[in-house]
């Protein structure tokens, strides 16, 4: 890659144009299923009908649906019984069919519980259904996850990653990829990453960033701001261009020295990663191993293709503790997963996060007494993943 293209983040882009990039199950409409419905002659019989139906024809897979809509009553999915047999089935199961109008129709209703309010509102029109709003998912879906202050910060650190990628000192044959690792607790840049692939083909920018974080924890100096993760020339460059940003890691303490052990830097726990290019699988997994909290990225969208489709939406999906996971009891608990992104005209930033789903899953398993170990991570990747450049 000689004469690399310069990356830039347009100053004029308003922050409001940032858009979350969500997994398909949150973006698409809730899938539908066809069911039989009938009407009830006399509203007085509604509760009687519900009680009788729930005992003779319970629909376990559709418990998210109400049984009644006005005078209409939901009988069952059409794949259970043929239309002609519904009447006789009900009678055979001691259902008092005289309270029905015997006007069986087929309608489409939500097959699974809706996950976002938008999905709910749409599907609730078909047939009333229950909806438990997940605050985090809702923020993602409505693009309100970050306050404008937070957005400004994210953009600033992303600019910094671009500055690292574009720095003049870089060997012309080295890929111009930049990474900035930030400790959000002290709002300070802990390390930077840049490709060293010419020296060692496995040292992608992401791996270099992680290695540089490790440097801050190995050289435990007592200074308040450990600068070991920032090469001098890059630090100088960034200090000149970003005068209001602080640099350096918190002093690293051993586990035994910490009052609140969760607080101390451990690997990259809680750190934010800003990376100018989609991480390759190796680097993405390296961030997960390192327990970074999330990693936005930015990438140019080539004209022509609709932005949403050209980009990977890689998504770490959590599957609960399976029997095989229980073989060893690992102390590890959570791994970041999921993805958010921003879309700004020609750019997208992604942030793999997802605490909500994970937490919900965790609690559910805990309740069942099944959770003894951590989660595995299952990656669902789009076709485009293999084309990425990191």
């Amino acid at each position: 890659m000689s004469n690399p293209k310069r990356l830039k983040l347009d100053d004029s882009v308003p922050t409001q144009t940032m858009v979350s990039v969500l997994s398909d199950d949150l973006v698409e409409d809730t899938p539908l299923i066809d069911v039989y419905v009938d009407s009830i002659e006399d509203p007085k019989n509604i509760s009687k009908a519900i009680i009788q139906l729930n005992s003779c024809l319970p629909i376990l897979e559709l418990t998210h649906l109400k049984r009644i809509k006005g005078r209409n009553i939901l009988l069952c999915p059409i794949n259970k019984i043929c239309l002609g047999d519904v009447q006789s089935f009900l009678e055979a199961n001691k259902f008092d069919t005289s309270i029905l109008k015997n006007d069986i129709r087929i309608i489409s209703v939500a097959k699974i519980p809706p996950k976002t309010r938008r999905q709910y509102e749409k599907v609730n029109k078909h047939w009333p259904c229950n909806f438990h709003s997940d605050k985090y998912v809702e923020k993602l879906a409505t693009n309100t996850l970050f306050s404008s202050d937070e957005l400004i910060k994210h953009i600033q650190f992303m600019r910094m990653a671009i500055a690292v990628a574009n720095r003049k000192e870089i060997d012309g044959n080295e890929k111009n990829i930049g990474v900035v690792v930030v400790d959000p607790k002290i709002n300070s840049v802990v390390s930077v990453g840049y490709s060293e692939e010419l020296i060692n083909p496995s040292m992608h920018a992401g791996m270099v960033a992680i290695r540089n974080v490790a440097k801050t924890q190995l050289n435990s100096s007592d200074s308040e701001q450990n600068l070991a993760g920032l090469p001098k020339d890059i630090l100088l460059l960034l200090r000149n261009s970003f005068s209001d940003v602080s640099f350096g890691a918190r002093p690293f303490k051993c586990k035994t020295d910490l009052e609140e052990p969760c607080d101390g830097p451990y690997l990259c726990t809680g750190y934010y990663v800003y990376i100018t290019h989609e991480p390759c699988i190796m680097c993405a997994m390296a961030f997960i191993h390192s327990r970074t909290r999330f990693s936005p990225r930015i990438e140019r969208v080539d004209c022509g293709a609709p932005p949403g489709e050209r980009f990977l939406v890689f998504q770490a999906r959590i599957y609960g503790a399976r029997a095989s996971d229980l073989q060893f009891q690992s102390p590890r608990v959570t791994t970041p997963a999921g993805i958010v992104g921003f879309r700004q005209d020609g750019y997208i930033l992604h942030l793999p996060v997802d605490h909500s789903g994970l937490r919900a899953r965790h609690l559910a398993l805990k309740r069942k007494g099944r959770l003894r170990v951590s989660f595995g991570v299952k990656w669902i990747l789009s076709r485009d993943f293999c084309k990425l450049r990191c």
């Binding site: 020296i199 083909p201 102390p331 959570t334």
Partner: protein, 156 residues
């Protein structure tokens, strides 16, 4: 493979996740490694990547191009390479990977089929002395990873 197990045991003695790895080049052992995550405070220092660095050093010392060396390397590792390492080995185009037991949490074939995405030239086989490798892991996870902080979720 025995050598790889030797290094896995060494990792266990050093309170690291017991994974051992060797790289063979021209029927000679070119690199040996074990997990060094805790001692380097770097979560990417898996046995495989430790070996990768040694190959880079070797190539430099012998004025060889590391990419051509990697293409003739056969990797033996006690546990299925994780997603990260599998991706690394495939990207480096090593000739083959032989592993012991599966890695149900992060495995580069078991959890996510990295090969399907990267279409590597590398041949990969597993299941060699799998029980032995699994036993080592079980021994390790019986004790807590001494360097990991207690989980926040568990505390609540």
């Amino acid at each position: 493979m025995e050598k790889a197990f030797h290094y896995a045991r060494e990792a266990l003695e050093n309170q690291e996740v017991p994974v051992g790895c060797i790289f063979v080049y021209n029927s000679e052992i070119l690199a040996v490694g074990r997990n060094e995550v805790n001692e380097t405070k770097n979560a990417t220092r898996h046995a495989e990547l430790v070996c990768v660095d040694q190959v880079v050093e070797y190539s430099k010392a012998h004025s060889l191009s590391s990419s051509s060396v990697f293409q003739q390397v056969d990797v033996f590792v006690t546990v299925e390479p994780c997603i990260m390492c599998a991706a690394a080995l495939y990207q480096l185009k090593v000739r083959s990977v032989t592993f012991g037991c599966k890695n149900d949490r992060f495995g580069g074939s078991t959890v996510l089929d990295v090969a399907k995405i990267l279409n590597p030239t590398t041949a990969i086989t597993g299941g060699y002395r799998a029980e032995e490798a699994m036993d080592l892991l079980k021994q390790f996870y019986k004790g807590q990873n001494p360097n990991a902080p207690p989980s926040k979720v568990k505390k609540k």
